[in-house]
Symmetry: none
Subunit: 135 residues, 4 copies
DNA sequence: GTGGTCTAGACCACC
DNA sequence: GTGGTCTAGACCACG
């Protein structure tokens, strides 16, 4: 599991953590039942206040991603992966729809947006060619 | 010119104003040289704090959209329209590229994203059929 | 609105606050749109740390009971009353079902439980006779 | 004697043990004078920390349910059954009274509560028909 | 003035 | 050792 924090970023630290944990769960870096670092450990690792970690973990709990097992720390919930993946997909589709609408409302031509869209896909494929499953 | 504010919305009011002024400039509702309401007037119209308007106007000035003419209030800058349009287009293209990359990185298929993309365009066209330029 | 805190009570302070606010909303002491005390004010009134109030208010927000209006504090959400009432009713019915099941499983006779149940109702009516709507 | 622990449950493990021992005593699965597993044995059986068992046994001792016979381990006290049964009954009656009061105070109608009460009894009878005393 | 975030350090219950 | 709660005090963005 890899978590990196940018404290000078606008988004709150606890939210950065929440996102990255969810992301790790979604892509399989964290699997169901696996233990995540304790509040204090992660706080030390990231050099931030334990309270901030605590907050992030609590949010993850109420989102059903983490479960606490009495006195033995936090574990990834069983069905977490599925829900994280679907949640992420939904968010992205919503964002895509929103930006497209914005563009059209701003007077951009569909063809223009489509070109931009396809270019983004081509750019991605060039960086990570099809067939590569190193992720 | 039409500006509507939603104070219970997450985005700061001053930013809502900035965006809508730029939008009005971009689509021609506000043309170069035209005067915009004074800070106090706009504050009254929108029933919000004058400080907030002030802040928005300052940002618009530093973006080159507004200019103050000594003692005669704020006016839309000459080249404002062109810069607003191009800026808006650039922002949207960037956002589009970003969300596409996010989606691919999250493991969504290009075809899936493309479908979502086209659906958004169809949805927009249905609401505002082609040929309509009432906006 | 009346909120009283018992810090020596086992249940966390922030939860006591959440419950009492919901309770006040459910019974009409707090109506939709009404403003609740600011974080700092309530903290002073109850002589507890603002952070604790903050936490309670945040939970109430995510439960849809409170809404923050930019820079003008927290307000009771429009549909809050209905949801609070129904939520409270559901919780109580669940608790009732649970304690009855516990009792039966412990070998108590239905008649015995029924007597206890009716006694509780009689006791309540004696304290607050029917027709009294002073609450 | 049957004890099952759910470590991911909110209630402390030692309390789960206390309750289940009392329950077993109340329904006759554990009779006066009978020996209970040693701290170490029970800890192994339940795969939990011996300290936790220790704590549970201490509580049971101070409640008069268990007695230590020097060098021969923990035994169920002579009058334990009677006290467990009556204690359990009292607790349940109190809980019932409390939840009824809560409900009435929340504005629920007595008839409504009564219906919920009877439904719980019917539900229980259906699962464990009258005449069955296999528990 | 408002809420939102973060830090530092403390205490507690549980295992 | 674990998480959960609370306090005290600071800083920031917004209006």
């Amino acid at each position: 599991m890899l978590i990196s924090i940018d404290p000078s970023n606008g988004t709150p630290i606890y939210e950065q953590i929440v996102r990255q944990v969810k992301y790790n769960v979604a892509n399989g870096s964290l699997v169901g039942g696996q233990q995540v670092p304790s509040v204090r450990d992660l706080a030390k690792m990231l050099a931030i206040n334990p309270n901030t970690i605590q907050r992030a973990y609590q949010l993850l709990q109420s989102d059903g991603v983490l479960e606490t097992v009495r006195g033995r720390g936090q574990h990834v919930a069983a069905g977490a992966k599925r829900s994280c993946v679907s949640q992420r997909a939904r968010v992205i589709h919503d964002e895509l729809a929103m930006v497209v609408e914005e563009g059209l409302q701003a007077g951009l031509e569909p063809a223009e947006l489509r070109e931009s869209f396809e270019a983004a896909i081509r750019r991605f494929n060039r960086r990570k060619p099809p067939g590569d499953s190193s992720a």
